[in-house]
């Protein structure tokens, strides 16, 4: 370098390290520091509080670990590597942190719900039997009416929301000019719509149907409309994001083949974005399938099986879980067991949706190999 010609290097030299291995913490250092902080924190906590709380322990272990590895790496390696290690620690903690509630909810629901969940519970309509001699009413657990109600109400809401949502997203991404006022208004309002409390959506739908069909407006369909108000913005938003991720080059390639815009959108853009769109739709379904307040308001309540979405009350699994929890019979334990049973069934249902969506997404996903 010192022997360089008169052609000075074009830029000033930074003090880049010349070696390739300078300041490396050994590979085992991360697990070691982690274990160390776990032990130290456990000890300190025990001395300070004379008790042991797993949450507090995990939390402070993470903090001590991050500080420790950060400082250690700053000293031995450099600031950049320290940042890198700390961020990795943070990201992994975030993930573990999220696993805890997931496992906890699932375990809770499964443990609590498994007690009542069996084929009978799924395939029978919940009901009562009455013994005229003892005057005793016995409740027979059953969720069939709620399963059917869930499928009908959510199904209709999905059938309405998904096309509207996806078409709107298409309008926003594929058709509207950036400064089109309608586009601006809709992007904005869709965000606002995500903040509508679910109960207000229920009130809106019920008022609307009261205007149309008169006072006895309770029906599965009006509940579906309420759910649409909640679902559409989620579908629009996630679809919009996914459509924007489709590279423009693909659209151009298609246009250049003389493919009309509509076909390009359907067969190239949607196809490329399909997996993300499906994920968004499933998220939206999961979001609405657990709603209770709008269902009460718009579809009222029943224990009976009702297959007609356009008339009379309907029950859903979420409502069943909620009512059994909130308005138990005199046998509180049995009611709560039913509530958890319905909740477990609901989770299973959504997981099934999710699986189907996954399969669809995998089939449609862009492939590189």
């Amino acid at each position: 370098m010192s022997a360089s010609t008169t052609n000075a290097p074009p830029v000033p030299r930074s003090s880049a390290p010349i070696t390739l291995t300078s300041g490396q913490l050994p590979r085992w250092i991360e697990p070691a520091v982690l274990a160390g902080s776990a032990i130290v924190v456990a000890a300190v906590l025990f001395v300070l509080t004379q008790s042991f709380n797993a949450g507090v322990w995990l939390f402070f272990t993470a903090i001590v670990y991050l500080v420790g590895i950060g400082l250690g790496s700053t000293v031995v390696e450099n600031r950049r590597k320290a940042t890198d290690r700390v961020v990795r620690g943070l990201v992994i903690s975030a993930f573990i942190l999220a696993l805890i509630p997931l496992v906890s909810t699932l375990v809770t629901v499964i443990v609590q719900g498994a007690a009542v969940l069996n084929w009978n519970f799924i395939w029978t309509v919940g009901g009562t039997s009455f013994n005229p001699d003892t005057l005793e009413v016995t409740y027979t657990p059953g969720a069939f009416q709620a399963v059917v109600g869930t499928l009908i109400i959510t199904g209709i809401a999905t059938l309405i929301s998904v096309p509207i949502g996806i078409l709107t997203a298409i309008y926003l991404v594929e058709y509207a000019q950036p400064n089109n006022p309608l586009r601006r208004a809709i992007t904005f309002l869709v965000d606002v719509m995500t903040g509508i409390p679910s109960i207000v959506a229920g009130l809106f739908a019920f008022s609307l149907f009261s205007l149309i069909v008169g006072p006895k407006a309770f029906s599965g369909f009006s509940a579906s409309i309420a759910l649409c108000v909640l679902m559409i913005p989620i579908v629009v938003r996630s679809t919009e994001e996914m459509l924007r991720l489709v590279p423009n080059e693909l659209r151009e390639a298609s246009f250049a083949l003389g493919v009309p815009r509509s076909t390009t959108i359907l067969k190239i853009v949607l196809r490329t974005a399909a997996s993300g769109i499906v994920t968004g739709v499933v998220l939206a379904i999961a979001r609405i399938v657990g709603e209770t307040a709008p269902i009460f308001i718009a579809a009222s309540f029943t224990d009976a099986l009702n297959l007609n979405p356009f008339q009379d009350p309907m029950q859903t699994l979420a409502v069943m879980a909620y009512t059994n929890y909130s308005f138990p019979t005199t046998d509180i334990a049995a009611s709560q067991a039913q509530a958890w049973g319905a909740a477990l069934l609901l989770v299973i249902l959504v997981v099934i949706f999710n699986l189907i969506a996954r399969i669809v997404a995998t089939v449609f996903a862009p492939k590189t190999r």
């Binding site: 151009e252 390639a253 246009f255 083949l257 003389g258 009309p260 190239i268 590189t368």
Partner: protein
């Protein structure tokens, strides 16, 4: 099967920015025309106005006429989709459809336009197009694999195969070989030679040798400075451009020692 193109005093704008100014030229059917010129002078921009592809960029618009066999591409009632079906295009960067197999990529133009094509016809078309793009031997045993798994050069040849599979009347190519190695480039150049008996071909290239080898006529574009519009400086038989250019700027540019 091929058409003449006549451009009259064309200005191209991106919003308010005039990118290309006052281009007039005539392109004969069954000929190869090369566009050369420094980066940013508006070659791609102008090329895209020949099949109205510039319209997909918000705010891009033209003033002036482009006549194909006398029909104004910008006349009232003209459907850009139909224009593009007759004026095919190959881009600078390869852009195969990531969701499709190699075979489906080649057939995309036919299939997306809802043409029903029998399996044997389809196979024939795929083979012919891929052979034309000199890709057949490399991919014949993995036609059902995704097109995105190919190397850059292979992808570009796949895109060329896709464009010629719909048998357009005019073929626009925007630096089609810039990502290709000499062997593929050679194949494409031969292909152009072949195609020109049926198609009108317009090619943008940075490669002077390529321009002189493949084209009948050459157009040299230049730009006075940043923010200034690109202009057609000289348009003539390729031989004349490379040996006896009329304009000093052209001579400066083509006499560079690069290739």
């Amino acid at each position: 099967m091929s058409k003449s193109i006549e451009v009259n005093n064309l200005n191209v704008y991106y919003g308010n920015f005039l990118a290309v100014e006052g281009v007039s030229m005539e392109i004969a059917p069954r000929s190869v025309t090369a566009f050369i010129g420094p980066s940013g002078c508006g070659k791609s921009t102008f090329l895209r106005t020949l099949n109205r592809m510039h319209e997909v960029i918000p705010g891009a618009h033209v003033e002036g006429d482009v006549l194909m066999d006398g029909d104004n591409l910008y006349g009232p009632g003209v459907d850009p989709v139909l224009v593009r079906r007759q004026v095919g295009m190959v881009f600078q960067r390869p852009n195969p459809f990531p969701t499709m197999s190699i075979k489906d990529n080649v057939l995309a133009g036919v299939r997306l336009n809802n043409k029903r094509i029998s399996k044997s016809d389809a196979d024939d078309l795929v083979e012919k197009s891929l052979k034309g793009a000199n890709l057949w031997n490399e991919v014949r045993d993995r036609l059902d694999k995704p097109g995105a798994g190919l190397s850059g050069g292979q992808q570009q040849r796949l895109c060329i195969a896709r464009a010629i599979a719909v048998s357009p009347q005019v073929l626009l190519m925007d630096e089609p070989c810039s990502a290709l190695d000499p062997i593929s480039t050679y194949a494409i150049e031969e292909l152009i030679e072949e195609l020109k008996s049926d198609y009108t071909i317009v090619i943008v290239t940075h490669n002077m040798q390529q321009a002189s080898r493949v084209s009948d006529r050459t157009a040299f574009f230049n730009i006075a400075g940043t923010g200034k519009p690109g202009k057609l400086i000289e348009y003539n038989d390729t031989k004349a451009i490379f040996t006896t250019p009329n304009v000093q700027a052209t001579e400066d540019y083509v006499s560079g020692r690069f290739g």
